[in-house]
């Protein structure tokens, strides 16, 4: 079942140095990595970026298969962009059939595009795999806290995010259950064209939404019972503290961005 493949927001607990980094560091490093991805111009740049990703995955003891599994739901988008790039980039024509024109530049662009998208996805997955959602949102809240001055409800937004992440597996389980129940009564989710498939989802979504609202209501009461009263005066189990490793990681990723940019300028 494809639903099980959704690994968004999943967290694999661990004690590696990457797990222990401050979430703010990890967030910033991920942003720097993504910026580097867009600065990379040639094979050398991508090779460096791949090595960094592979090294982080190895240090965090995350199985590469887990990263690949995370990529499966967006495989279609990756293939589509690759194909479009191959045929719509002007340049040296290698092969032509009617209006389809395969160019050498197109193949390179498509190749780098695939790398860029998969590295981007993998790096963000690596972030969520190694950081528990609550710690991650905590880090995000601290990073965004200057926005509180502008009356942006930072605490509320990050709380919403962490609860959403927490309920992804619960709701997936529930969807599975409802689907089985509907299938047992003869519902057909797999055949027909796209329109028919979408229509078949309606009897799935209605009970799912109703139950989600009920859950939300119960959760709100349970949170109130545990003295939740907004972000004011809250303390944290884990205090966030920048350490030596955090500084080192940030310096490394800044260097990575600059290095990849320089390589790009050199046309590598």
């Amino acid at each position: 079942m494809a639903l099980r493949d959704i690994t968004l927001g999943q967290y694999f607990p661990g004690h590696t140095i990457i797990h222990r980094l401050d979430p703010r560091t990890k967030l910033l490093c991920t942003v720097l990595y993504i910026v580097s991805l867009f600065l990379a111009g040639g094979a050398a740049g991508y090779a460096v970026l791949f090595l960094v990703l592979a090294a982080c995955t190895a240090v965090a003891k995350i199985r590469p298969a887990a990263l690949l599994r995370g990529m499966r739901p967006i495989l279609f988008i990756i293939v589509l962009t690759a194909v479009l790039n191959m045929f719509y980039t002007p340049g040296t024509v290698l092969w032509q059939w009617k209006f389809l024109r395969l160019t050498q530049e197109g193949i390179w662009t498509a190749f780098f595009m695939v790398l860029r998208v998969s590295f981007l996805i993998s790096s963000t997955f690596l972030l969520t795999y190694t950081t528990s959602p609550l710690v991650l949102t905590d880090g995000l809240e601290r990073l965004l806290s200057p926005l509180k001055r502008l009356h942006v409800p930072v605490h509320e937004l990050t709380m919403i995010m962490s609860i959403a992440l927490r309920f992804i597996p619960t709701l997936i389980e529930e969807t599975d259950k409802i689907m089985s129940a509907q299938k047992a009564r003869g519902a057909d989710f797999d055949s027909g064209n796209l329109f028919q498939k979408a229509k078949a989802l309606v009897p799935l979504l209605v009970p799912l939404f109703i139950s989600a609202f009920r859950r939300a209501d119960e959760l709100a009461v349970a949170m109130e019972c545990r003295c939740y009263h907004g972000g004011e005066g809250r303390t944290r189990l884990r205090q966030l503290r920048f350490q030596g490793a955090d500084a080192a990681a940030l310096v490394l990723f800044c260097a990575l961005a600059v290095g990849v940019w320089a390589l790009g300028r050199l046309g590598l």
Partner: protein, 286 residues
């Protein structure tokens, strides 16, 4: 004896859209002694869950008063004090777990109370040990069994260091193993830590394990006393739509047939002993 919760002529009715307000609680007077283990029994719609929600100011009475540790629950500025004194555990463990890691979830309440981090750490560890889930502190809650999740939920409430825990049908969604786990946890907490326990349930066998049993029907308390005494009143329980534990039911049926059996045999052993005694006495008489 110190009273932790007291309701005085508590009345409650929901205000519905049509303006008709069905009465859910109709004058409940209840005093719960600190350190006791009270079960509240009633069938669906008897008002037992509504009563529970009044015990930590989730609902406020539409008539009468509720006092928690001497504080009127209607006093809005004391809300946090009331809620940290009386913790509440609900039916569905999935819908009360906030965080994606067990220990972070247990830390949620002390974090809200603004407790310093070292103290939170200590409370989280103590609470998880008290419910026997310390080894699972770094697990993801959705991978635990129902009984384990519910114990995490109990730990989440314990971390507030409440004097009383109200559990609203905590075993209703659990399998027999999970039910036993949760019930054992509750009993241990009551016995060893002296936490007052109010267990809302519709399982006779769970209710039978409490020190005191309160039976509710149509928003009123219809019986109140030690389980052994309440359950002997089989006819009264049946008249409000409740059954009695199977052991009592058996003895009661046999009594109807003219056999001399006590009605206070709540456990299987007690029942077996009573039957054994009856049989051997009959044998002796012959």
């Amino acid at each position: 004896m110190e009273r932790i919760i007291e309701t005085q002529n508590l009345r409650f009715s929901y205000v519905s859209a049509e303006g008709v307000s069905p009465v859910v609680l109709d004058g409940v007077n209840l005093e719960i002694t600190a350190g006791s283990f009270v079960a509240v029994l009633g069938h669906n719609g008897s008002g037992k869950s509504t009563l529970a929600k009044h015990m930590n100011a989730i609902l406020l009475p539409t008539g009468g008063r509720v006092y928690v540790d001497g504080t009127d629950t209607a006093e809005e500025e004391r809300l946090l004090d009331i809620r940290r004194t009386v913790g509440m555990v609900f039916q569905n463990p999935d819908n009360q777990i906030v965080a994606s890691v067990v220990e972070e979830d247990v830390a949620f309440a002390p974090e809200n109370l603004g407790i310093p981090p070292e103290e939170i750490r200590r409370r989280v560890d103590d609470a998880l040990k008290a419910v026997g889930m310390y080894e699972y502190r770094e697990h993801a809650p959705h991978l635990l069994s129902g009984g384990q999740k519910q114990r995490v939920a109990i730990a989440g409430v314990l971390a507030m260091a409440p004097r009383c825990i109200v559990l609203d049908e905590p075993t209703a969604m659990l399998d027999p193993v999970g039910r036993r786990e949760v019930l054992e946890t509750i009993k241990t907490l009551n016995r060893t830590s002296g936490v007052t326990v109010v267990l809302i349930t519709h399982h006779m066998d769970e209710a039978a394990q409490a020190d005191r049993l309160v039976v509710m029907s149509r928003g009123r308390v219809v019986a109140d006393g030690p389980p052994k005494r309440v359950f002997t009143n089989v006819e009264a329980l049946k008249s409000v739509g409740l059954t009695v534990p199977e052991t009592v039911e058996l003895c009661w049926e046999l009594r109807q047939e003219g056999l001399d059996l006590p009605l206070d045999a709540l456990s299987d052993e007690e029942c077996a002993q009573a039957l054994f005694r009856l049989l051997t006495e009959e044998g002796d008489a012959r």
